[in-house]
């Protein structure tokens, strides 16, 4: 009788141990899977972004993982670029006092009269979207913000998405991690 009672107790004990082990192992495996295979990443929908400036101030990275990108196929290569120059700048030149970007992250390159190319230096860009607002208001809207995935930590809850007033930061599959204007259009969203 005693032997039988002992066996039952052992059985229950072992069962509890195995169950706990399986649960802990399962949770750990799931966490490992989620930690190593990012099926979804954060990205900015450029058609929803309202250039609020929070990408520059709220990202956990310092400097922000959000950078301005340039859709060259949409750009007019204008002499008077609304994303490069302050509105009402007295002259169209590369003078720092005329530039819109607070960190001078946009370089103006001469192509041929009267066309100029505007290149973003990402090391200097802080993702403030000031140029994006200028380009959207006064140009073709070719400048827009994107989260650079070589810099982004892909936090479980993106600190910028939490405060983004236009809910422009969304999860996208890591197979298509960028929403670049031109190849990504408003109609792609519907």
């Amino acid at each position: 009788m005693e032997s039988k009672a002992h066996n039952r107790r052992d059985f229950i004990r072992r069962s509890v141990r195995v169950s706990l082990g399986l649960t802990v192992g399962g949770v750990g495996a799931l966490a490992l899977k989620n930690g190593t295979t990012d099926e979804w990443v954060w990205q900015i929908d450029p058609f929803e972004c309202n250039q609020c400036g929070r990408c520059a101030t709220e990202c956990v990275r310092n400097i922000s993982a959000v950078k301005c990108v340039h859709a060259y196929d949409l750009c007019g290569y204008c002499d008077l670029c609304g994303g490069y120059l302050k509105p009402g700048a007295p002259r169209i030149d590369t003078g720092a006092e005329h530039q819109l970007c607070p960190t001078a992250a946009i370089k103006r390159k001469y192509i041929e009269e009267p066309f100029f190319e505007y290149v973003i230096e990402e090391d200097l860009c802080i993702g403030c979207a000031k140029c994006v607002k200028g380009c959207t208001s006064f140009g073709n809207g070719s400048l827009h913000l994107q989260i650079r995935h070589d810099l982004c930590r892909n936090c479980n809850q993106c600190a910028i998405a939490r405060v983004c007033p236009s809910k422009a930061i969304i999860r996208v599959p890591n197979t298509e991690p960028y929403l670049i204007k031109g190849s990504f259009t408003k109609s792609d969203k519907t």
């Binding site: 250039q51 609020c52 400036g53 929070r54 520059a56 101030t57 709220e58 750009c75 007019g76 290569y77 204008c78 002499d79 008077l80 670029c81 609304g82 509105p87 009402g88 819109l100 607070p102 009269e113 009267p114 403030c128 979207a129 000031k130 607002k133 200028g134 959207t136 208001s137 006064f138 140009g139 073709n140 809207g141 939490r162 405060v163 983004c164 007033p165």
Partner: protein, 320 residues
């Protein structure tokens, strides 16, 4: 004892509520954040002195279409391109004609005889007032993007934003030639068209005027395509043209004044023949922020018809 407990409990509840309220006010959730330190303030450019606005919107007609493609006046009636159709609307907003087109229309104009010339992406077609096709042209090629058409009794002018040129056609639709607006004048590089907005208009005296958006100018050309005169005003303030490329659309009044429509900071204005600002028809607050420039057509009585692409509406502005 019981009373003391109630007081302590209520005090604790009040303290917890106060802490929650203070925490909420000090949080940075949307709506509670301090202002944008990087804000590009365009409010000053958007603001218009009400004294300058001498028009008011009196009517508007919604258009049931996904894509609009130009507006023109046929007497008292309004012609518009919408989806793959040409529509005519009477002054009361009632549709009086609707014909299916072979392609999506991009621009249109009406001849003195009432025939309707429709510009497609890279071709033209002429329709009778009853909607019957009179002729159509061959396509101009893949690079062509027709954005405006105008016709006199002897010639048809077509603005091609894709090739940055104005094409001339005969009244029977036969291609004559093209010109790019280039001259020997220093700093004149011809038509600069950074975006698909490139318009032209015929003045009551028959003169051709072309909007050169990249130069923020309106230029007068001879029938052979030689630059005769121009005026320009690159300035974000209300008396000039803002942004990279404006005006996006133009029309000409009976006194030679220009009705202009701008994109980016969307606004409709009237400039005197000399280029000086005459009045404002519609300020930016009448349109969506960063919206599309409405196409414009002006009646001989001064009424301005605007085709609002964002709201899919014909908006009618009359002098106050």
């Amino acid at each position: 004892m019981k009373k003391t407990f109630i007081y302590v409990f209520l005090s604790l509840v009040v303290i917890i509520i106060l802490v929650l309220v203070v925490k909420d006010f000090s949080s940075n959730r949307p709506g509670r954040m301090s202002g944008n330190p990087y804000k590009l303030d365009v409010d000053e450019i958007m603001a218009v002195d009400p004294e300058l606005i001498s028009y008011r919107e009196t009517r508007n007609y919604d258009i049931d279409a996904d894509k609009l493609g130009g507006i023109a006046l046929s007497g008292e009636n309004i012609c518009i391109g919408a989806d793959d159709y040409l529509q005519m609307i009477d002054p009361e907003g009632k549709q009086i004609m609707k014909i299916k087109l072979p392609h999506s229309p991009e621009c249109l104009t009406v001849s003195e005889q009432g025939n309707i010339l429709v510009g497609f992406r890279n071709g033209l077609a002429l329709y009778s007032p009853e909607g019957e096709e009179i002729w159509k042209t061959d396509t101009m090629g893949e690079r062509a993007v027709f954005t405006a058409v105008r016709m006199t009794s002897s010639v048809i002018y077509v603005a091609d934003a894709g090739q940055r040129a104005v094409h001339r056609y005969g009244p029977d639709g036969s291609y004559i030639d093209s010109f790019e607006g280039k001259t020997q004048i220093e700093g004149n590089y011809g038509f600069i068209v950074p975006s698909p907005y490139f318009d032209l208009a015929i003045a009551p005296d028959g003169e051709l005027w072309v909007a050169n958006p990249g130069k923020h100018s309106i230029e007068n050309y001879t029938g052979e395509g030689k630059l005769r005169a121009y005026w320009e005003n690159m300035n974000p303030t209300i008396d000039g043209f803002s942004g990279c490329c404006n005006p996006a659309h133009i029309d000409i009044m009976t006194d030679g004044s220009f009705v202009t429509s701008e994109k980016g900071v969307v606004r409709i204005k009237i400039h005197k023949p000399s280029g000086e600002l005459a009045t404002v028809v519609a300020a930016p607050d009448k349109f969506l922020v960063d919206g599309e420039a409405p196409d414009v057509a002006v009646h001989e009585d001064g009424t301005v018809y605007a085709l609002d692409y964002d709201r899919k509406t014909i908006r009618i502005f009359e002098p106050k």
